[in-house]
């Protein structure tokens, strides 16, 4: 690919990016949602009965583990609890994502006609802000807030208590006949949860990494301190033998260049007092002048390192 093409692609990448993102942003939300098809997280409850209590077990929206919701009634007899799909109660003003569990139809009998019963719905899945909304298709406004009493119990369990009057607005059959049918479900604000948790979790990462950072800074300081101590101890050990032999100068006080210079100066000084005829290295073939020259060269090579040679030259 040529440089020009590469530059062109690089340029166009950034020019198409913004319009592309704008187009994405302009696509109507409902259209996109429709394109995605069905609700993927439809919770499907399974019911079990134990005495007067009916328990629904389900995996709610945005969760991976199942939760239990317990139903109990006072002032009447709990006959049955059934699941109800949200699409049966769909309404433009109500978002199914606000209902994390499926809707429930609670059937009660043996109620004194026209009297009130209390329905208790208990779960550790509810929060203190959980509401219970009632659906009654016979009513003018089919969806209404159940005005529940939200009671906190030990172990993070919440109990929702709804007062339902036989034949009242919450009773789906609308007749005071000693039987109550209550349709509805626990409701939590989807956006409230999503944004609230978003905020908490983003700052949670800061918190976690800040704690790790503090731990690392502290441990780093400890390690640096230990390393410093170790280095100081090593230095002390190096210095100790030097103190035991005071006649030897520390090696670092005289550099190699200075030592060479001193030796050359000594050589030049002592060579002035050299005898004219050396007592060793005598051969007939070599003249005294030549021999002396050789000796000087050889001695000069040893001067920096060999103390004996230096003494010999005296």
């Amino acid at each position: 690919m040529t440089k020009i093409t590469h530059r062109f692609l690089k340029g166009t990448f950034w020019t198409w990016l913004i319009p592309a993102l704008m187009m994405v942003a302009l696509v109507p939300r409902t259209a996109v949602w429709a394109a995605f098809g069905e609700d993927l997280e439809k919770p499907k409850p399974e019911f079990t009965r134990e005495g007067d209590v009916i328990t629904a077990k389900l995996i709610p929206r945005a969760k991976s583990t199942s939760v239990s919701i317990h139903f109990q009634v006072s002032g009447g007899r709990l006959i049955d609890v059934e699941g109800m799909e949200f699409k049966e109660a769909a309404h433009p003003d109500v978002d199914n994502k606000d209902f994390k569990s499926e809707l429930f139809v609670i059937k009660i009998d043996k109620v004194s006609p026209g009297s009130e019963v209390k329905v208790s719905i208990t779960s550790d899945f509810f929060s203190s802000s959980t509401q219970y909304w009632i659906f009654n298709r016979m009513s003018k406004e089919p969806w209404m807030n159940g005005d529940v009493q939200n009671v906190s119990l030990p172990d993070l369990v919440q109990k929702l208590v709804i007062s339902v009057k036989d034949g009242g607005s919450f009773d789906s059959d609308g007749v005071a006949d000693g039987r109550i049918t209550l349709a509805g479900g626990p409701k939590d604000s989807f956006w409230g949860y999503a944004l609230g948790t978003l905020f908490i979790r983003f700052f949670g990462i800061f918190l976690v990494l800040s704690i790790l950072m503090i731990g690392m800074i502290l441990s780093g300081r400890v390690f640096q301190m230990l390393d410093k101590k170790k280095a100081m101890r090593a230095k002390e050990i190096q210095l100790q033998p030097a103190a035991a032999t005071p006649d030897v100068q520390p090696a670092e006080t005289v550099g190699s260049e200075l030592a060479t210079a001193i030796c050359v100066a000594l050589h030049l000084h002592f060579s002035a007092h050299r005898p004219t005829v050396p007592s060793h290295f005598f051969t007939l073939e070599i003249s005294p002048w030549l021999r002396q020259g050789r000796e000087r060269i050889m001695n000069a090579r040893f001067i920096p390192t060999n103390r004996d040679n230096r003494l010999q030259n005296r």
Partner: protein, 382 residues
């Protein structure tokens, strides 16, 4: 046998036992898409180690009647389905990749300058903004989280989280993550230049202190204690990552460390790439969602880069020794590509400025940050 019977037999064989009459337009498009990714990997060398197996996985799985991604009559998985089931669905491969990554990682630059951990946290901004944006477009909470994590620029983390929360999006998410990771040198520099002045780009940072072997050895233990205690959900990823690093730093299991870094890493990369590619069958991939995921993935990367640089600017308000804001972009965990981009941009401003080691700190912090973000999401949906 009459001529008609022979013709009928041939017709039956053609229709039921060969792929040609069963080939759909969507499958042809997907095969062309696989060619595109193979081209990017081979000709452009964009993350070839992953895009080659992913591209080939897409290519293979879009042939009609090919017994690769389905189940046999007895319910046993076919070849690539078995890789997918036991490797990805059981969340084994991403954790093994983290083990290998840990064995490859030198945490020295991060230990020498722990402040850069905050940059790794700041660079997760895009993860959460994208999460919010995708919710607006009708994604479920779990899907939104799995799309959001793309911006963390960490392939195994993206795969791990997506397999856990929204397996139906595994293909597009993994592909978006790896494609944009390969495009880091293209995506980041304009944002880096936009968010910094030439003077800021020329800031020189003090050389990092030497880190002792003991300190490096203790780091995986200390980090595991803090992170796993605070976010237990991230234990599989972080535990493997730190275990790999401990093997590297302890120096007594060189054979194991070497296997984790090379042989094992190569094997799991092949299996992961093929499995991820094989999830991109025409009927799943050709819809609005993958296109939106690609759009949001890019936006995610941009915001994460922005978040990292912004974090450095904020930190500089309080620090005596200023940090070069270019290292902020390395807070996304595309290791070491993002750090290299910081180095290149820094040298453009001042040829004597060497930022690579300083940028490795936030880069490694990005790995921890994105894994922590994944852990946060997992805990949220538990």
């Amino acid at each position: 046998m009459t001529w008609d019977q022979v013709l009928e037999l041939i017709k039956s064989i053609l229709l039921t036992q060969t792929g040609i009459p069963n080939l759909s337009l969507g499958q042809v498009i997907m095969i062309l898409i696989s060619f595109f990714f193979l081209y990017l990997a081979v000709a452009k060398e964009y993350e070839p180690l992953l895009l080659v197996p992913i591209g080939f996985g897409i290519f293979l799985v879009n042939f009609p009647l090919a017994p690769l991604m389905g189940f046999t009559e007895h319910g046993d998985p076919e070849l690539i389905r078995a890789f997918y089931k036991y490797g990805v669905q059981w969340e084994i491969i991403p954790c093994l990749i983290f083990l290998g990554l840990g064995a490859m990682t030198d945490f020295g630059p991060l230990i020498a300058n722990p402040k850069t951990l905050i940059i790794g946290a700041g660079a997760q901004l895009g993860v959460f903004i994208t999460y919010c944006g995708t919710l607006f477009f009708g994604f479920t909470l779990k899907e939104a989280a799995s799309v959001g994590i793309i911006g963390g620029a960490d392939g195994p983390t993206t795969i791990y989280l997506t397999a856990m929360l929204a397996p139906q999006l595994l293909g597009p998410n993994a592909l978006a993550a790896y494609s944009y990771m390969a495009m880091v040198p293209l995506i980041q520099p304009p944002i880096m230049r936009l968010m910094t002045t030439p003077e800021q780009r020329r800031i020189k940072m003090r050389q990092l202190r030497p880190v002792s072997a003991k300190e490096k050895l203790l780091f995986p233990l200390v980090a595991s204690i803090f992170i796993i205690l605070l976010i237990p959900a991230v234990a599989p990823l972080m535990g493997m990552f730190m275990f790999g690093n401990f093997m590297r730093e302890c120096g007594v299991v060189k054979r194991l460390s070497d296997t984790a870094q090379n042989a094992m890493m190569n094997i799991v990369t092949i299996l992961l790439g093929l499995s991820v590619g094989a999830t991109m069958q025409a009927d799943v991939f050709l819809s609005w969602k993958p296109m939106l995921i690609f759009g949001f993935g890019l936006l995610d990367f941009i915001i994460c880069t922005f978040g990292g640089i912004l974090t450095v600017h904020i930190m500089n308000l309080f620090l005596k020794e200023k940090m070069n804001p270019l290292i902020g972009s390395a807070g996304v965990s595309a290791v070491p590509m993002a750090a290299r981009v910081s180095q290149v941009e820094g040298q453009k401003a001042d040829p004597d400025n060497w930022l690579i080691m300083h940028a490795m700190g936030p880069n490694l912090a990005g790995v921890i940050g994105s894994a922590s973000a994944a852990g946060m999401f997992i805990a949220m949906f538990k």
